[in-house]
Amino acid sequence: MTAPNHSWRKFKNVFMQALALVCALLVVAPLVLVFYHLIKEGFSAINWAFFTQLPKPVGEPGGGMGNAIVGTFVVLAQAALLGVPVGVLGGVFLSEFGGSKLNWAIRFAADILNGVPSITWGIVVYALMVVPMKGFSALAGGVVLGMMMIPLVMRTTEEVLQLVPGGYREAALALGIAKWKTIVQIVIRTALKGIVTGVLLALARVAGETAPLLFTALGNQHWSHKLNEPISAMPLQIFNYAISPYDDWHRQAWAGALVLLLLVLSINVGVRFLTRDRFGARNH
């Protein structure tokens, strides 16, 4: 073999490896940059008032996002009420019952739903709820996020239930325990940590959604007390402040984004440390 060829191959080897490393660094860069700027621009605007006060009109300094923070949790709670039972039980069906053809179709449908653009969900629920109820509402916001959670939770639940060894089920059935009791008390309980992980990740995912809330929850500048009235949420408030022309509002947008990002990322990091055993959901 000729030596020059060999050194050319070696050079290419090193070069491509270096290139791959550069690409990996490029991927990491945006997260670092976003975090850096959020802290730089937003941290100074975070104080007690930010969490407890209402937004101030243009020109008045101060004020906060109290209503949007509460609103986010109100909408998420409703979303969980809809998305968790449907998603978890549907996931139980996929893992424990059903023929392979039907299950394949359900899985496929869930994967397609996961790819439906979030803005599409928004106008669908607008037509479904806002038009008949004659107004934007916190309820519609909860329903749209809940619908988006269903396929997410279904797939992760199925995944973690499949990790429960078949021997557990057989042992319980051999003792004469009904199948549904076996599933509820043994299979689900064994995989509970993983299911909770999946639910939390789904909540973290929809917590940052803006587009579906634009035409459902709408947002407002005061405290909401009724579910049939518009409600604010952090992503909505961040968006409205970001596209406004006022410096005060931009600062609030940065602060809101920092708080929202910390919330979302701490759920994501938290569940990874919580579920390090073999029944933990593998993250998405």
């Binding site: 669908v124 269903i150 803006t210 970001a242």
Partner: protein
Amino acid sequence: MNQPDKQPTANGGQQFGDTAFKWLTLAMALAVFVLIALIGYELFKGSHLALQKFGWHFLTSSEWDPVNDEYGAWPFIFGTVVSSVIALVIAVPISVATAVYLTELAPQWLRQPLTMFIELLAAVPSVILGLWGIFVMVPWLRVALFPWLQKYFGFLPLFQGPIYGVSMLAGGIIVAIMIIPIITSVSREILRSVPGLQREAAYALGATRWEVTRIAVLSYAKKGLFGAVILGLGRALGETMAVTMVIGNTPQVVKSLFAPGYTLASVIANEFNEASGDMYPSALFEIGLVLLGVTVLVNIFAQLLLKTFAGPSVKPQH
């Protein structure tokens, strides 16, 4: 429970309980079909006025004039396709190279943290990336990258014309940032499912590490990687908030990537709440229908590719 005389009733109860439980879970699982039907039904119902009036012409007309009730989706389709193609051109090489780095090259201790970092990037809400895009990325593009591109590649029509910052190219870059994590993590799963024997055989022939990757791993995984890219395309087409914040929201069809554009998702986000009358909202619903149709087709294609490549060993990606 252990009393023998109660056994028959307990059995009957068990039967009933099992059947009821099975049907309950089945009903919940079928919710996915209900949701798909619901989405399709509401979009068709909402858009039937526009469908009737404009027909197929809607897709090719460039007229978007709410005052005279004339609507055509072409500028938005154009903007969506162009920003998604830019995003893929940027994201695909970077994502695949990163996936290769993660599975083949990186030292063991680095793989786990790096993977987690990429998953965290996937979790950043779109609106936050958009905020960063408006105030950090776009100004930088305006004063640094775009003038540079114009200076050295200005002979191409793509890089001519005035520079505003907010532009098709800015939209494409922000979408690239959003789809890199998903393409990377699906590609990583694909590469991990390549049998070790493939690599060992290539090493045994004296191949270098890069040659092993190219000959034994990448060519083996081609189809799966293609699936990952198509999945990324599906996400790119439907991406809303971040794009809306940086693309400039101007419905026009021009060659320059420095010019502002508009996408299907952004026009809904921006105009839906202000759309008055009957035809205007209906046209926006039709835009939603077009967007849904395209993303669903792309996603079906991606899922089929991924499922035939690796079966159930590649986990679903959200």
